[in-house]
Symmetry: C2
Subunit: 433 residues, 2 copies
Amino acid sequence: MERQTVRLGIIGAGNVGAALVAMLLDESRFPALLEAVGAPLSISAIAVRDASKVRPGIPAKLLTTDPLALATRDDVDIVVELAGGVDDAYRYVHAALSAGKSVVTANKALIAAKGTELEALARLQNVDLIFEAAVGGGIPILRALRTSLVGEKIHRVMGIVNGTTNFILSAMASDGADYGDVLAEAQRLGYAEADPTADVEGFDAAAKVTILSALSFGTSLEGAAIARQGISAITADDVAFAKRHHYVIKLVGVAERVGEFGISMRVHPAMLPEAHPLASINGAFNAVFVEGAKAGPLMMMGQGAGGNPTASAVLGDILEAGRNRLLGRRSATPDVETNLHMIPQGELQSSFYLTLDVLDRPGVLAAVTSVFGDHGVSIRLMEQSGMGDEARLTLVTHLALESDMTATLEDLQTVDTVDAIGACIRIVGEDLA
Amino acid sequence: MERQTVRLGIIGAGNVGAALVAMLLDESRFPALLEAVGAPLSISAIAVRDASKVRPGIPAKLLTTDPLALATRDDVDIVVELAGGVDDAYRYVHAALSAGKSVVTANKALIAAKGTELEALARLQNVDLIFEAAVGGGIPILRALRTSLVGEKIHRVMGIVNGTTNFILSAMASDGADYGDVLAEAQRLGYAEADPTADVEGFDAAAKVTILSALSFGTSLEGAAIARQGISAITADDVAFAKRHHYVIKLVGVAERVGEFGISMRVHPAMLPEAHPLASINGAFNAVFVEGAKAGPLMMMGQGAGGNPTASAVLGDILEAGRNRLLGRRSATPDVETNLHMIPQGELQSSFYLTLDVLDRPGVLAAVTSVFGDHGVSIRLMEQSGMGDEARLTLVTHLALESDMTATLEDLQTVDTVDAIGACIRIVGEDLA
């Protein structure tokens, strides 16, 4: 009997694509891949922008510059979308699924914006749409959520899912350096983009939270509005305060069940107790912390980006999709739960850390604390440093409603003796440290 | 069309069995389980030793005292083996697989001793044998190895896979207490058995290393001889030294590729740098650290034992086996690689920490260090404490062959001025901290 082959069409040959092709062409791994799929894998074509560019390790005869044609070719069973972006990638993936191809993608932006629609199309076509690498690079967190934990009632998923911001915050913590200096260094080293907005303002993390929430709770993948606060306002003083009080500042993405049918999704900097498992995740590492009703707390960490780790995750997806194709089946994917509602950020409770630059005049403390009191926000710690016009108040509140804290911040802006309001950072995870 | 049901037979209703039954009978979870399997789950029977015992939450009409009959009943599709032990469990699982049932088990001892034979039988019968809970309780590490990472060339798997010893070592580190006192406390709290041998001497961890190695490298599951050293010789002084030098002592289980076809499996206490991800895994938590060629370092942590976490992992396996049965397929399992060989422990290299109680007489240092020199073991650090007959030498070596270190220890026993030799602890993971 002739053995079937599972044929791949790959769109994109950047870092990840090149690493993937190298893994697929490594003969020493052929037996393992054959065993995992049940048939050999082959590459039918690789779509690139510029076919004339020399690409070491990539056979030139496989190159094409027409990704849309590749997505529907007869000799392609699985389309691997590594092009990035939303609009073009959407066209390729939609075309591939419509033509009955299975699709593997690492594209978090695409899945966070169009995942529900594309998933419905994949279901209709009885093919797979798998996207492990879209969250946490090489960390197999999404597969854990859709297999091992699919029977588990999950309370909360909290992750460090952006390597750039974690690199910056880790460097600020270890060097005592200021945000701007570390960002410049990260840009020089290639860890941050020339325009770092997507990373440092939390957009990248928000897309990943959308995906984590969909797999944890069944929320939809169609561009959820996520409360989002970045790290650009964080100062060396904030980091120093955190260290003195045994906290670590991390940018966290959170998706959380509130009551039975409420869901909160948000991205913000957080002070985590040093003993919290996420507090020790440093540099470009990513980690996702899952709290299940029965499984208890789980954490998975690994390299959140990079050609090889991402390609490793993509390869795992290809093996799953390939095996499924041979067996004429697809992997189970969760339905969208229609009875969930989003909880407004203001209805959540947290402790807050806050700094205020104030004029050190008689009555300034009374003026500041009365604003907190007016909104029912109770202060659990206050430190004053500096003298005269340079004085700074550092405050930590007890648990307070976010809406009350927001109102407090608004009123503080009208207090004459308050010069400037620094980063307002939530203190989280104290129950788990 | 009438909907099929996937029918379970459960052997054992202790902590894990009771937690599992509660999860299966929780009506609020029915939709999620139905969606994951494609059909409802039902329990046909539960085998227990004593059917007259009152078991809250477990319907008495489901109880039977004949596990072997349960394993082959017509109205059972999946047998869930939670009885423990090897011989009886082997009979039940063998009978179930022979009768064409899929089997889910949490029994590490059974899998580590008989897994290869039972796996071959399952393959022959085209049914599943799945055992996620056998390693790391609720941590989905085995599924990650056999799905996401199946295409990955793995270099090393290192885990904290025994909660009892991790509880003891964590308490010794935080309290400065001695081994015996902490063990007694652990026994009082129910974290350690009256006879703690299986845990503290590393037998339990060794079974788990056998399983991790099988899924990482394709070694066989038939009672591998694993180099094994427990924690009972570790003293408060060792822990204090570790802390002073920014190490943490953990009992680690390691399965490692040596060259292309060599495999080393071992269980021993290790000094890990404080910055190593495994160093922060405390109390009864478990964690497994995986180093893949492409995925890079990954770590998964969670609750390594307990009724609910273990039942959560068992439920994940039931959902996988149930879905497979409806589709008439089984999950892929790795072949046993026949070209692998075990690397003798003596051929490995490590740095070692060692304490010697010596008589503080002229020439004692020369006598001790010349023994190290005779075997080519070079000393990188030496501390002397105490005076007269109470003196203690603490030594750390450079990288040395284990066989040379073993020979050094043997010769040290013949040195007159050496009174006693303390725990010899490997220093590992310094490349990754």
